[in-house]
């Protein structure tokens, strides 16, 4: 769209105000916007100008002096069915539970609808008060990984989008659905608006739109939802102009919603794979990260149908095969004669959905992000597939595959499969117990040490939560990854995995997002929180308290960005300049940060710092009691580095 057309449509959007007519202040505001846009069309560089003084209309608006048109009767409102009410209706119909935002004038209309629309006033989506846009989007990221459904985040103009940029980037790399709405107000603070606001994050969002009408806005939100949940899943962004939020909707209806259809393998491919699975004497299924819990359930059905031993990525991230399922493990024999991968490499056939590289056309300025764009990163994007890869979504392929396998099943095969499955179960059980005993032998090292070993944190937690419906929301790689050996990851949401793009400031807000999901589902969230990570945006602790979220935070407080400390120490050694200054810029000392006090400042109950390992177990019990009451709790534990 050309700038002159933008100006035209900008004025057109304000037609409802013209119709209502009358208020001189409103007319003044319109005039100001039109002039600004016209100036842009003439090639003026707003960036080179000093910030313009507020117009008379803006001053009036700020002062709240705009009065209802005189043509209305006393008590009658000019707008009785604001456009943003319909936006909320669309979100509600899509099942969006939460919408996190840090207040901003560019979405004041939408925010008012979220809190007041309907009778009784709206409760879903519930407005979640975020203290930073980065936190709001990372909440959606954590929620998306726990549920496979988008949560919404509100971003205020250009500044909100930029605050959110890193977290959008992480959700994108993590292929996690999230629905972002950015308010735009061309008539208020010039620096908060832009012609193409989504352009700032286009190269790392799945889809975006800047609708020109209310009707388009409603359709755009629906499409953004669909794009977010369609592989490759990811964050999507709709820019919603303030005028459309405030426009009188009159008799406009919410458009009918159509769910997306994700293509899977065809009937021929299903027949071929089902036959191979059933003909094999020792088939193997490798399950990576599927899209939803339904996909996980289907993978379990198929593995049970064919009696295949199965591998899982449940200890690395969400939506994979249950770790304790009897078929999960190496099986009775590792001489597999047919291997099938679902979003995982396999020797024979792998079904792998579209990757982020299919979205490269959105990177119009050729930023070329590593691991997505070809030839960018020396680190590469992972191992090459070993066998034949069918580039098709695995989850969407599973229903026809299960159906076809059932169709080809014979009583003889069924009997053989049952015998095989029994052998696999026994072998897997033995292997699992051997691995556990071996892990315990390793993890007893430093059991009574102070500072406290990270293994002890995970070991003490497990018996306390094993019978709970829990989510481990924080990445565990920096904390030793002890959950992988000590805990059972049996639910699609047991462990939410890493940050997405390795960006810090993720653990706490992602845990808040997971806890939002947990709250309405009777679950609890465990956040083993690294100290460096928490300090990026600790305000999320307040959000957790304010919304009474079931989140237990256990600090892995090693008083450093420890990975970086080791890197810098290595460099000191390589260059022969000594390691006694390696702590500069990599440690959090002098003073030590008191996380219990930090939590208390945000209203969160907690205790610590704990240095005596014998006091850890009781503290964890107290924390869980609090969390089950809906009161988040933080335990500051002074730990060994790793």
């Amino acid at each position: 769209m050309s700038k002159s057309k933008k100006t035209e449509s900008s004025v057109t959007r304000r037609g409802f105000l013209k119709g209502a007519a009358t208020a001189a202040a409103g007319a003044a505001a319109l005039t100001n916007v039109a002039v600004t846009s016209a100036g842009a069309a003439q090639g003026r560089s707003a960036a080179l100008d000093s910030a313009p003084p507020p117009s008379p209309g803006q001053v009036e608006r700020d002062a709240g002096n705009v009065r209802p048109p005189e043509t209305l009767r006393p008590g009658e409102r000019a707008v009785v069915r604001p456009g943003s009410d319909l936006m909320v209706q669309v979100l509600r119909d899509l099942g969006i539970e939460y919408i996190a935002g840090n207040p901003g004038s560019s979405f004041e209309g939408l925010q008012e609808s979220i809190i007041n629309f309907g009778n009784p006033p709206n409760r879903m989506p519930e407005f979640i008060t975020a203290l930073h846009e980065e936190s709001a989007v990372t909440m959606a990221h954590g929620y998306g990984k726990a549920t496979a459904r988008p949560m919404c985040a509100l971003l205020h103009g250009t500044i909100g989008v930029q605050h959110a940029a890193m977290s959008i980037y992480q959700a994108y790399y993590d292929r996690t659905p999230a629905l972002l709405l950015a308010g735009r107000d061309l008539g208020f603070i010039a620096a908060h608006s832009a012609n193409d606001m989504a352009g700032m994050v286009r190269s790392f969002t799945k889809w975006d739109a800047q609708p020109r009408t209310l009707a388009e806005s409603l359709a755009a939100i629906q499409r953004a939802y669909n794009e977010a949940i369609t592989p490759p899943c990811g964050p999507t962004l709709v820019v919603v102009d303030i005028e459309l939020q405030k426009e009188e909707a009159r008799d406009l209806n919410v458009p009918a919603y159509t769910a997306p259809k994700v293509p899977g393998i065809d009937a021929n491919q299903a027949r071929e794979i089902a036959k191979a699975l059933l003909d094999a004497q020792n088939p193997r299924i490798a399950v990576g990260r599927l899209r939803t819990p339904d996909g996980v359930q289907l993978a379990v059905q198929l593995a049970e149908l064919v009696g295949a031993s199965t591998s899982t990525s449940a200890t690395q991230g969400p939506m994979s095969f249950p770790q304790r399922h009897p078929l999960c493990g190496p099986g009775a024999s590792t001489a597999y004669d047919y291997t099938l991968g679902f979003e995982a490499p396999a020797a024979q056939v792998s079904l792998s959905g579209p990757t982020l590289s299919t979205l490269l056309s959105r990177d119009t300025t050729n930023i070329g992000f590593g691991g997505i764009a070809p030839g960018v990163s020396r680190a590469g994007a992972g191992g090459a597939p070993r066998g034949r890869t069918i580039e098709i979504d695995a989850e969407a392929s599973l229903p026809i595959l299960v159906e076809e396998t059932r169709r080809q099943m014979t009583p003889d095969r069924k009997r053989l499969i049952q015998e095989r499955a029994t052998k696999h179960a026994a072998a897997n059980e033995q292997a699992r117990m051997e691995e556990l005993r071996s892990a315990l032998e390793q993890k007893r090292a430093g059991w009574d040490a102070s500072p406290i070993s990270t293994a002890r944190i995970y070991a003490e937690l497990w018996p306390l939560i094993a019978d709970e419906d829990w989510i481990l929301s924080s990445p565990s790689s920096f904390s030793g990854g002890h959950n992988a050996q000590l805990w059972d990851h049996n639910k699609p949401y047991s462990y939410l995995g890493g940050q997405g793009a390795g960006g810090m400031g993720y653990g706490a807000p992602a845990s808040v997002g997971a806890a939002l999901a947990a709250k309405s589902r009777g679950q609890i969230v465990i956040n083993v929180q690294t100290d460096g990570d928490l300090n990026y945006a600790p305000g999320v602790l307040w959000t957790a308290v304010h919304h009474e979220l079931p989140m237990l935070t256990v600090m892995h407080n090693n008083r450093a960005w420890h990975q970086e400390l080791m890197f810098v120490e290595y460099m000191c050694g390589v260059r022969g300049r000594g390691g006694d200054r390696g702590h500069i810029g990599t440690t959090l000392r002098e003073p030590h940060i008191d996380y219990r006090m930090m939590a208390a400042g945000y209203g969160m109950a907690g205790e610590g710092p704990i240095t005596d390992p014998t006091k850890l177990g009781a503290a964890l019990k107290r924390g869980l009691v609090s969390v089950k009451r809906g009161q988040p709790y933080l335990i500051d534990v002074i730990t060994q580095p790793r």
Binding site: A445, G446, T454, P463, Y570, G573, V574, Q640, P641
Partner: protein, 147 residues
């Protein structure tokens, strides 16, 4: 010339790294004398952030000292030689391997103090079956799987 130097450095680094991996281990704890001052060694151990990889007590981390029978820890001289023989060319990717400690920045006397401190490390870990939480974990593991 530059590339040859790089290759030489890389080879030296690789050999040093390899030495750390393949030096034969001792079946029993070394008995050679430690002549340094362990109290000063403790200060140096912390100042040089040895704890980063070896744990504050030598019991945890990526390279715990307790139960480490590497020949590099057998004697003061082998320890010092090991410190001096680490890589002096950085790989392109960040590394968490053992850094080099040159004599110019960590004199032999200080290295001996650190060695003496390392020698004080002992395992305080109870056997697995005497850790109640571990027994609970084993009990949990034996419960039948519930989808």
């Amino acid at each position: 010339m530059r590339s040859r130097t790089q290759i030489a450095f890389t080879l030296a680094a690789a050999m040093a790294a390899l030495a750390f991996q393949i030096v034969p281990t001792h079946a029993q704890a070394p008995a050679s004398p430690a002549t340094g001052n362990p109290a000063n060694g403790k200060k140096l151990y912390e100042a040089y952030t040895c704890y980063a990889c070896h744990g504050f007590n030598g019991e945890t981390g990526a390279r715990a000292f307790v139960s480490n029978r590497s020949a590099n820890l057998a004697t003061e001289s082998s320890f010092i030689a090991f410190l001096r023989a680490r890589a002096n060319l950085a790989p392109t990717q960040p590394s968490t391997r053992m850094p080099n400690y040159s004599a110019a920045t960590l004199p032999d006397a200080q290295a001996k103090d650190i060695f003496a401190y390392i020698r004080t490390f002992k395992s305080h870990a109870p056997p697995v079956d005497q850790i109640p939480v571990f027994n609970q974990i084993l009990t949990e593991a034996q419960k039948p799987y519930k989808p």
